[in-house]
Amino acid sequence: MSDIATIGSIRQRTGFWRRAIRHPGFLIGGAISLSVLLIAALALIWTPYPVTVLNIAEKLSAASIAHPLGTDHFGRDILSMLMVGAGNSVAVGLVAVGLGIGLGGPLGLLSAMRPGLISEAVMRASDLAFAFPALLTAVMITAIYGPGTMNSIIAIGIFNVPVFARLTRGVSLSVWEMEYVTAARAVGVPPLQIALRHMLPNIASPLIVQATIQFALAILAEAGLSYLGLGTQPPQPSWGKMLHEAQTMLYFAPMLAILPGICIAVTVLGLNLLGDGLRDLLDPKLRRAAKLPKT
């Protein structure tokens, strides 16, 4: 029985790439997301200039060969700052989404597989968390525990927990009723093994789609927190902080605000396109509705 499930997911995957190369949204979104990831990785080992060293004499210089995107009010190289900012955003997104899936996933699975008081408690707690707007919760947490990159990541990550708990529970409930799961339970497969071998491969698709969306939201939230001065602290640059600093200089140095703004917009757009593309490609029901070739 478990073999059928495995074969199904393999066949699904082979068809995936064939369809993927014909999906423009997925391709564009994927290319943007991959570029941001690569730039972020590069910023870890190399940037054209160090971003914590100021060079006041060269402040607000226009784009040149030495500084392809110019310098800011402290004479820092904007390209380098945007690169480090990308690293910052990706790190926040990864940790926040990781935290969400890592805690929310098991909670959702547990509550689907073991209905009862605990599962109800988990779900009502999620509902409670949903009642507060994400950014407001994050502002509250950073206000209590102090501003900083770590605290803002945790604050954003915490909001992702109920998102994934709820989603996982929803999709798991239907899988839990499937005959092959019932069969596995009947022959006495341990619950953990059922969860990992039979359930997880079948609920992974919506989780992956949601992860890309949450990744984009986490980047936006981090930018928002840093803009308010609650996220990444100086001297470390971040896109949101660059936007904030540029605010009063909009009249004479608009690029200081436009460039990080473009970075945030393009990255979020890329992740959303990727998420939409993944949903189109991974969701069998949608595929049938769109009359795509069956695999």
Partner: protein
């Protein structure tokens, strides 16, 4: 339909007309911080004085736009030869805004209230030299001092020494009642404080009928409010980077004046590392003042080498005592045992001089091996954590009180600086009356602070006023915390 249109046109014309008229005799000023309340005798916040000083409340003397001591509610005074007894003749016919008469009983009440044990006056030091206050008659007040005090008449001109009435003193925080040319009209918390002309004023009536102070904590929205005409004047515009734009705009003029704001990198002198004079001197050598002024203030500000205003006649230029020298700074740190580096906290209050200046200083200190952890805080937290409990290593703040070098003689001031040498100089200074001797002692006091490198002395804050063209009679400089609009008018 026709009548409706007509009515609308009529209404529009009426509105346009009243708008024009209003511009002639009303003034809207932008202020960066909202005052916590409106009683200048019960709070340290400069924002209180910046609304009510001289406009609503007056003192026995008043400070003029150039910092000179002028007669206020006292029309004249005599000082005894030993410098201990001051006799003030009060003005006739002065009335508080609630209609009660101002006389010597009110002076007694005001000064005794400020000197009382349970007084909440933020500048008790101003009253400390006073031995007794007497009122021989309704129009005369005699103040006897414990010792000659050179600055006494200037001190009487502070916002903290304004005259209040016993009937209204308790409610001045929300409904200020003074003797000034403007009366309090209304306070919309969080947005605006309105004053209106006091038609029963004892002196020359104000030319403006309505004055409004709009609270604008954010530089970008302040700029937008100026551009759109919601604000006529921003006496002290917080974002120097935007001044160029206002200079280029024919609707505005940018008036650059002086303030009493010594902007310093305050050091907690009881911190283990910072208690070592070599570390403090190393920091002084690591600091590049011009880079801070250019980077954080866009060139606005004058470098200082001690805690003293450069425009004061007794100023001594000590900016070259610790030239920017990273090698020297590193050597001094090594000598003090911090060759492998030093980690300090840098607590920064909200103004841009602190937040941006802090980033520049952090980078300059990093270059000599001092690592700083930047902690941005709000004012309330700064006052509690830095100012009251002195739980900090480094902070950046502008000390805007006039002639405030005496704070270094205070025992538990937040720098935690203790120097018998300075205390001696300052004690001599407070008792000196001879101008030449005073000047020499003031110079000496500046030198002691610079030699001890008590704090990192950065720059004197400039007063960057953005004024709509046509407004006259405002102060370009800020010799005392005030936005005196009593002589303002539209041309």
């Amino acid at each position: 339909m026709k009548t409706k249109l007509f009515a609308a046109a009529f209404l529009a014309a009426g509105l346009g007309m009243s708008g024009q008229v209003a511009a002639k005799d009303s003034l809207t000023l932008g202020i960066g911080l909202e005052p916590p309340h409106l009683d200048p005798t019960a709070g340290a916040a400069a924002a209180i004085d910046e609304v009510v000083y001289q406009n609503v409340f007056e003192g026995l003397t008043r400070i003029g736009p150039d910092g000179a001591v002028l007669p206020g509610l006292a029309k004249e005074w005599t000082v005894s030869n030993d410098g201990l007894t001051y006799s003030f003749a009060l003005r006739d016919g002065v009335k508080f805004h609630d209609g009660t008469a101002f006389d010597s009983a009110d002076v007694l009440f005001s000064i005794n209230r400020a000197m009382a044990e349970d007084s909440t006056n933020a500048q008790k030091g101003l009253f400390e030299p006073i031995a007794k206050v007497e009122a021989p008659n309704a129009q005369t007040v005699t103040i006897t001092l414990k010792r000659p005090t050179g600055h006494f008449l200037f001190n009487l001109g502070w916002g903290d020494v304004v005259m209040v009435a016993s009937e209204s003193a308790d409610t001045n925080k929300t409904k200020p009642v003074g003797t000034g040319p403007f009366t309090f009209d209304r306070w919309s918390k969080g947005s605006e404080i309105r004053l209106k002309r006091n038609d029963a004023y004892w002196g020359n009536a104000a030319k403006l009928v309505k004055v409004s102070f709009k609270v604008m904590p954010d530089a970008a929205s302040s700029a937008a409010a100026l551009m759109s005409g919601d604000i006529d004047v921003f006496p002290n515009f917080g974002a120097p980077e935007l001044l160029e734009q206002f200079r280029a705009d024919p609707r505005f003029e940018v008036v650059v004046g002086t303030t009493e704001g010594e902007t310093i990198l305050s050091m907690n002198n009881t911190n283990k590392a910072l208690s070592d004079i070599r570390v403090r001197r190393a920091i002084a050598h690591a600091i590049n003042r011009q880079a801070i002024i250019d980077g954080a203030m866009f060139g606005s500000g004058t470098p200082i080498g001690s805690h003293f205003a450069p425009h004061h006649p007794a100023y001594v230029d000590l900016t070259s005592m610790y030239p920017h020298d990273q090698a020297k700074a590193k050597a001094l740190l090594a000598e003090a045992g911090y060759a492998s580096g030093l980690k300090l906290r840098l607590t920064l209050p909200p103004p841009s001089y602190a937040r941006r200046g802090g980033e520049v200083i952090a980078a300059q200190l990093a270059a000599v091996g001092i690592e700083t952890e930047i902690i941005p805080v709000e004012w309330a937290q700064w006052l509690k954590q830095v100012f009251k409990t002195t739980d900090y290593d480094l902070t950046i703040v502008s000390h805007t009180e006039p002639f405030d070098i005496g704070i270094y003689a205070r025992d538990s001031y937040y720098f935690n600086y203790k120097s018998d040498r300075f205390n001696k100089v300052y004690a001599d200074l407070t008792e000196a009356v001879d101008p030449a001797k005073r000047k020499a002692l003031i110079g000496e006091a500046q030198k002691v602070l610079a030699e001890d490198s008590v704090n990192g002395f950065l720059f004197e804050l400039a007063q960057n006023g953005v004024w709509k063209k046509g407004i006259k009679g405002l102060w370009a400089n800020r010799p005392i915390q005030a936005n005196d609009v009593t002589a303002a008018y539209w041309e």
